[in-house]
């Protein structure tokens, strides 16, 4: 839970004039992290609105943000307008690129429904023929064949890990396009998915290309490896992480 006083260390100063867009940045980072840890392609969330927040800054210009925000379902069903509520503590550091995050969200989807949808997606993916004859998803005109929709969702889940790592006070990303979908196999029943994604960084307008390899099974920890090229990655930026898909029993989901 977020400490209302902020960091206790006296080196921190309350930042009363919040830098432009800081709360949005923190919310985005928190949501990427949340999506990754939840490991559920059918329960992905996006930012609806920031409610409130405060920030503390230290002498190294590192930044801690406490905030509350609402979320929407990434793939809303017809007429669905459910909002989730989240509170988060986000720490933007200088050294390691990834922001440290503690986030709690109210559940907006029945656990059984989520598991069911994940399982359907999993079954669907297993049935898709490999190798896929697909160059990009969506195509240039924005079409995603309904049969390929699960690929996009799973790719977004894997990209969440990358986007979490790369989001800073100033940089934020969107998944622009899957530029290639390489083979997958299903070893030990898991979906083993190797793809290249184009991420769009908003403030510089740059497109970076990331090769992502993920291993996913419903209700098991999501494993992600990645390697990005492009102007945002002067050195090779790669990461390996295992998420957790612990089934929460209460109405609150915390990571």
């Amino acid at each position: 839970a977020a400490a209302p006083e902020g960091p206790q260390d006296s080196a921190w100063q309350r930042d009363s004039e919040l830098p432009h867009g800081l709360l949005q940045q923190a919310a985005r980072a928190a949501l990427h992290f949340f999506n990754f840890r939840a490991g559920s392609p059918s329960a992905l969330r996006v930012l609806a609105a920031v409610q409130q927040g405060r920030a503390w800054i230290n002498s190294k210009k590192e930044c801690q943000v406490d905030l509350e925000f609402t979320t929407e379902h990434y793939n809303p069903e017809e007429g669905e307008e459910r909002l989730g509520n989240c509170s988060a503590q986000v720490f933007f550091k200088n050294e390691k690129p990834r922001p440290t995050i503690n986030v709690t969200c109210t559940r907006f989807m029945e656990k059984s429904k989520r598991q069911q949808e994940d399982y359907l997606l999993y079954k669907h993916m297993k049935q898709l023929k490999d190798p896929l004859d697909v160059i990009s998803i969506p195509d240039s005109h924005g079409h995603i064949d309904p049969s390929l929709r699960p690929i996009w969702d799973l790719a977004f889940l894997g990209s969440s890990y990358v986007m979490w790592e790369k989001t800073t006070q100033f940089l934020h990303y969107y998944m622009a396009q899957l530029s290639s979908v390489k083979q997958w196999k299903t070893d030990e029943d898991a979906i083993d998915f190797d793809y290249t994604v184009l991420l769009h960084e908003f403030s510089t307008q740059e497109i970076i290309s990331c090769r992502i390899h993920l291993v996913w099974h419903p209700n098991k920890p999501l494993k992600v490896k990645y390697h990005c090229q492009g102007p945002q990655a002067p050195e090779e930026a790669s990461g390996i992480e295992e998420g957790s898909a612990a089934a929460p029993t209460t109405g609150l989901i915390n990571y």
């Binding site: 969506p138 969107y174 184009l198 307008q205």
Partner: protein, 375 residues
């Protein structure tokens, strides 16, 4: 009288068509269309809810000016880096009174496909409705619309042939090792001071100097030559769902900022009323990021009062690759926003003219009254 004539004309066309009578012009047009194997055969079947390659947009412009010669003319603006012609459409209701101008350009950034789609939609909406729709008729009494459907033609073509996410122009730099200037950083307003890069490799490369690019030159010179008459400058982008006003290069606000916010907010409300889409309104530097050399800031600083950038749908899910299925809704809601701005512009300049007359009459009356009170 007019509708009757119209009906007779239509009947005449049907009869002639039925008789297989081909006007040579129509035949020529058909041949042109067939040669390029477009999936649509005439303007009537031109799909405004699909994205079109540049060749089709060129054809569309010709067909539009042929079909509506009484109000539409096509004009040459200049050449692109790769020597392609830039054309804009002028929509003008003939009249004896002098007109003011609304300028709208789309596609200064190549990958923002929804923008040219909107420019075409806008033109179609105006032309299809200007005779019956009193709102549009009123606007055309005093306003001419100048629409540039694709500003960055070379870049746009490149997104069709090679790289869907290309942004800049296709000018060559550093001995052919680097391509493209961000045309929206190339205008002569606080050029390259902030939010832009001197490195050609970057996507916000501002060019080799202000207005270094032929596309920027073409637009600048033209706008400059008409600046006394241009009251509204709209430049259409995607994505982000924003209505942006000056400035990007400074936190200072333009002199008419309050008014711009009011008009912009009203437009966002009109937009939202259509399909529920949320747009944010504010200055570029406040709600987006710092930029210098943008066309909108330049337009404002040469004196064009109502200068806005639109960032259309969506807010990140599909981004630049907005599904065609969303073109119609996006264009419908954006149309409401643009018409709202035009209404406000109209009321400011032409309603207040008549109000001005009232004011001067009341002034004379009140002077007379005050003279009377002296006695």
């Amino acid at each position: 009288m007019k509708p009757l004539l119209g009906t007779l004309y239509l009947l005449g066309m049907l009869v002639l068509g039925g008789l297989g009578y081909d006007r040579s012009q129509a035949q020529h047009r058909q041949e042109v269309v067939d040669k390029t194997a477009t999936p649509w055969s005439s303007l009537e079947t031109y799909p405004y809810n699909r994205y079109h390659p540049m060749g089709e947009i060129y054809q569309w412009m010709s067909l539009i000016s042929e079909k509506y010669p009484e109000v539409v003319t096509q004009h040459f603006l200049g050449m692109t880096y790769e020597t392609r012609p830039m054309y804009y459409l002028k929509i003008s209701q003939p009249s004896s009174n002098p007109k003011k101008i609304m300028w709208m350009d789309c596609g200064i950034h190549a990958r923002e496909w929804i923008a040219p789609a909107f420019c075409q939609w806008f033109v179609r909406e105006i032309l299809q409705n200007y005779q019956d729709n009193s709102r549009i008729r009123r606007l055309l009494k005093n306003l001419d619309f100048y629409v540039l459907p694709v500003l960055n033609i070379d870049g746009y073509i490149y997104t069709w042939t090679t790289d869907r996410l290309w942004r800049k122009s296709r000018s060559s730099h550093n001995n052919g090792t680097c391509f493209g200037t961000d045309l929206n950083r190339n205008f002569n307003v606080s050029w390259c001071s902030i939010g832009a890069s001197k490195d050609c490799q970057d996507l916000t490369f501002c060019g080799t100097e202000p207005v270094s690019e032929p596309e920027t030159k073409a637009v600048s010179s033209f706008i400059e030559s008409k600046k006394e008459d241009i009251v509204c400058f709209l430049t259409i982008h995607s994505y982000g769902q924003l209505i942006l006003m000056p400035y990007g290069y400074t936190k200072n606000k333009p002199s008419n900022y309050k008014e711009l916010i009011q008009v912009g907010q009203k437009a966002a409300n009109a937009l939202k009323a259509k399909h529920g889409t949320n747009y944010r309104v504010g200055s570029s530097v406040d709600i987006l990021y710092a930029t210098s050399g943008s066309s909108r800031d330049w337009a404002r600083d040469i004196g064009i009062p109502f200068s806005y950038t639109f960032e259309l749908r969506d807010s990140g899910k599909y981004g630049f690759v907005l599904p065609e299925a969303q073109i119609q809704a996006t264009c419908e809601e954006t149309m409401e926003a643009v018409l709202s701005i035009l209404d406000d512009v109209y009321e400011k300049y032409w309603y207040s003219n008549s109000a001005g007359k009232v004011t001067s009459t009341t002034l004379v009356l009140s002077l007379l009254m005050s003279f009377r009170s002296l006695f």
